[in-house]
Amino acid sequence: MSEMLANTSKGHIEVRNFSLAYETIEGPVQAVTDTQIHVKPGEFVSIVGPSGCGKSTLLNAVAGFLKPTTGVVTVDGERVNGPSAERGMVFQQYSLFPWKTVRENVEFGLKMRGMPSSQRERAARTLLGLAGLEAFEKQYPEKLSGGMKQRVGIVRALATGPKVLLLDEPFGALDAQTRVIMQQILTNMWQRLKISVLFVTHDIDEAIFLSDRVYCMTARPGSIKAEIPIPLERPRQQSMMMSSEFLALRRGLMSLIREESLKAMGGEITDLGMQGLNIELHGHSLADVI
């Protein structure tokens, strides 16, 4: 089972010359263009960018749900053709099966593989224990809090020992405190499993706190605007978020995103224009608040 859970050396994601257009009645909508990203084995990489820039599109293409219009997605040199248990996915809406108990949800991937029920029961119990959920194994997801649901979601995705873990704003629906705890748990699992992670978020602090590297995307059609290495040492503590190093990274990313967000809202509004308005909000100018 150790071989199943710890997929050490592999998990190299490569996205090359990637573009994706959605077919609509009004013609193709270019969601992502000319994008190159990679995730090295065991690396934790985040994608940030303004709303609607194509983060989910890119992630869904890596998962195999969407076919690139041009370019290729490969994992360990193998072309991605469709979803597979090699690439675990965690969704913002939790997406637990409401008709399965917590443990049955976690067992699902193992069941699909044909693992006998007693064996997968034991595996699921172990994993749930690590996430602090053993007491809830017989509950149905509906009864759980958001944080607990998402812990189940993560454990479920990890149970089959995927090479890479893809997360699309997994903590977006959680309150701030729960979010912080979930970040700790995720970091922890990632470090133990040495799995490659591709993490989509719009929370800059979250991206910096968790990642080895952050890709910042442009407004739609999305492409990579910048790639920012995060040299903060690990293990990372919450207190680090006050360090000058962290704050400098944050400022950098913030200004990159702000530029793109303003572009996304319509080219007319510029930083300068905002400052010209000079509206005061709790002592900050509106331009600073945005």
Binding site: M1, S2, M4, L5, A6, A63, G64, F65, G82, P83, S84, A85, R87, G88, M89, F91, Q93, S95, L96, F97, P98, W99, K100, T101, F108, G109, M112, R113, Q119, R122, A123, T126, L127, L130, G132, A135, F136, Y140, E142, L144, S145, G147, M148, R151, R156, A157, T160, Q177, T178, V180, I181, Q184, I185, N188, M189, Q191, R192, L193, P235
Partner: protein, 303 residues
């Protein structure tokens, strides 16, 4: 079996306190420190079920009031737009009920109706549910069957009576056929509806856990549609009774519908009401059975 990699690392940096804060410890909820006395348990039970008790009490009162009004209307033979002159009183109906339950013929009427419902409805469920599931999953099947279903669906089961008599060699078969038709379409349509509402994200979740088409069908589409399937079964059961009674009144020789109609021809007014009440009780009982089955099959939905 070696321990999973997750356990092997000794340095557990997962913050235990943080985990404890993330959710209430279930031990704290389920195990109070001192065992409660019967009085407190009773009080607690009362508090939790107050709404239910209230509804039951009001329900009983309302039924009694109904009986009382019925009694008064018939005792005084009220004529006010409608005529209660020949309507049997509740006591007369009770008398004929007492007579009827000792009469094997009455029991046979009921049993035969139940058997027709059972066969017709079961066939409808056995055909309708899988057909709905397949139509929901395979476009071609949907495209072929849907237009025909849409044309046949609005035809009330009663309108099928003459056709059914022509189609089937025996009366019994045509009555069962009409019962089947009545329940078939609600079951089919609701199953289809359930299939169309399955959350695509759940399908994706299953796919990236390694599920193939067959497993997705069994593990996602089917359970996700179950609530609507049971809505279809409940509605279908109701329509099955409607169709059955109509068919029995027109072409039957036995059955509770026939009993009711015959009572009218034989001028046994108390039996008319008895037949009606029997139909009501049977209909109620069968829909309760379906609801119970639904709760058994979908434990995640019962709160």
């Amino acid at each position: 079996m070696s321990s999973p990699a997750l356990v092997r690392q000794p340095e557990d940096s997962m913050p235990a306190t943080a985990l404890a804060e993330a959710g209430p410890s279930p031990a704290a909820i389920t195990r109070p420190s001192t065992p409660p006395s019967f009085a407190t348990l009773g009080l607690r039970w009362y508090r939790l079920n107050r709404a239910g008790l209230r509804a039951a009490a009001i329900g009983v009162i309302s039924l009694l009031a109904f009986l009382l009004v019925w009694h008064l209307l018939t005792t005084y033979r009220v004529v006010f737009f409608v005529r209660f002159t020949n309507v049997p009183s509740p006591l007369a109906v009770y008398d004929s009920f007492v007579k009827a339950i000792h009469d094997p013929k009455f029991l046979m009427h009921i049993l035969l109706s139940c058997r027709r419902i059972f066969i017709g409805f079961s066939l409808a469920a056995i055909v309708g549910v899988p057909l709905g599931l397949i139509m929901g999953r395979f476009k071609l099947v949907h495209e072929v069957i849907f237009p025909v279903a849409e044309v046949l669906r609005p035809i009330p089961a009663i309108a099928w009576v003459p056709m059914a008599i022509m189609l089937w060699p025996t009366n019994e078969q045509s009555i069962v056929f009409i019962t089947f038709l009545g329940s078939f379409f609600p079951i089919l349509v609701n199953t289809l509806h359930g299939m169309s509402l399955v959350d695509p994200v759940l399908v994706r979740a299953a796919q990236c856990l390694g599920a193939r088409e067959r497993s997705i069908f069994r593990e996602v589409y089917f359970p996700a549609s179950l609530p609507h399937i049971f809505t279809g079964l409940t509605v279908g059961m109701g329509v099955a009774w409607v169709s059955l009674i109509a068919a029995e009144m027109i072409s039957g020789q036995y059955g509770i519908g026939y009993f009711t109609w015959e009572a009218y021809s034989l001028v046994q007014y108390a039996d008319i009401a008895l037949g009606m009440i029997a139909i009501g009780v049977l209909g109620l009982g069968s829909s309760l059975l379906i609801r119970g089955a639904g709760q058994l099959v979908m434990p995640w939905r019962s709160t």
